[in-house]
Amino acid sequence: MKLQGKTWKFGADVDTDAIIPARYLNTSDPAELAAHCMEDADPTFAGRVRPGEIIVAGKNFGCGSSREHAPIAIKAAGVACVVAASFARIFYRNAFNIGLPIFESPEAAEKIQPGDEISVDADTGVIYNLTRGEEYRAAPVPPFMQEIIAAGGLINYVSRRLTREKNNGKED
């Protein structure tokens, strides 16, 4: 799978309050959350981002609260994937669980400039910067996370496992 799009660049330690402020957490409707995506980092983002575009950020992206509303807001805003130097751990889990592709690459995070057109090969983790003619490599996705992605998210993974156990007569 290849993800190609224009990039939006953010700094280090983008927290989940910046991604989706708590004042909007009285709903879990993806479309409503998307309308306020990244609002406290860039109030113009939600209105200007186009489907398929890509967020690029520094270290520790998604730090702070456990709110799954953060990756949900990003995904529902149409963002194809997030490339960052590193991710906070709960955001990392949440993104895989809900099916938002994320890629860890300090080099890409440093070298990609706002507005660059990039292409990410989700299978190999190679990131091509079409604007600058550069190539970066993302950290490989752990095999277990690949299984979750292949299943279409954690819930599908869990229900398949339960079906398998039932068929094997393990259920009491």
Binding site: A18, P21, T27, S28, D40, A88, I90, P142, L154
Partner: protein, 420 residues
Amino acid sequence: MPMTITEKILAAHAGREEVHPGELINVKVDLVLGNDITAPVAIREFARTGVTEVFDRERVALVPDHFVPNKDIKSAEQAKILRDFARRQGLTHYFEVGRMGIEHCLLPEQGLVGPGDLVIGADSHTCTYGALGAFSTGVGSTDLAAAMALGETWLKVPETLKFVYYGELPPWVGGKDLILYTIGRIGVDGALYMAMEFTGPAVESLSMDGRLTMANMAVEAGAKNGIVPPDEITRRYVEGRAKRPYKFYQSDPDAAYARVYEFDVSKLEPQVAFPHLPANVRPVSEAGEVRIDQAVIGSCTNGRMEDLRLAARVLQGKKVHPDVRLIVIPGTQDIYRAALQEGLVEIFLDAGAAVSTPTCGPCLGGHMGILAAGERCIATTNRNFVGRMGHPQSEVYLSNPAVAAASAVLGRIADPREVC
């Protein structure tokens, strides 16, 4: 193989003799937790698993605490999703308004988490229970949904950072100052994906309330969990309180650590985290002249009895500065009642403070103390990100309860020694 306390608890719950950092393991959970923001999403996802009943109705705790008492129609709808689910599933640990508390104050107090437990919660501050010698960590709603269905979750075994705090803590310096100082030293991702093990004489001298404050903010350094080795103070806290059997684990003396930090804290001052990161820490004497509009004393970080006692000691016989709103939020109904019986609530009221029913409220900019553009608040809470307590152009400064109380009296960030 020698193991750390974190590794031992993980191994026990994975049904294995030993585990190594970096391994992915499946573990049984002793308790899972959700609140009125995260559980509605989890309940929706739980329905998609095809499972109709939670794995154990005594091991799923739902605590509406963030936007309750319901702040608007939408949050009322969210809280109702929890209530309906709890009734339908017959959950024994659902806590209604008037009988509830801030989740991370409430569950330890009620004896629902204990030493040696493995707990996951859809709230980042679930790491609080490490103070009891448990492994506990925050996850998202979908992980909570899967754990409600399976009674298990997957975890990567973290490397451990060991922190050793030497020396006797000076007056007005406690768990909040130790953890703020630590985050200031290592940064907001200084413990990313790792366990933080808090040890040494200064930690051993902390009460359970102080330890809960420390473990609570491990996530602010990016950690997976924070943990304090259980001891006599732990035993006294859990005896007569724990609702389930518990077990004390200790790190082996030759366990492997990714790194060991040693801090002499005998001359530590109260610490203040400036906007807009919890790592932006300075000693209070270097705060300079920072006028404040509001002070908040409460939250899962500092809403416990010891915190209220400290604040009351500073506020006794004094008045809140005319330009300041002081909001005091006891963490649970039991803490509220104890504060009433000890006369603390009267001290707060006499000083001119507002005292609220338990709620996360202002900490995350929910309600009960939202800031306008340009306003500043000193708070005993855990995060000071942009817009955390209200308008994106407001500011939050983090401190211990004594500093927050002294600041409320003087109208600027102040050292408790200036008023006591």
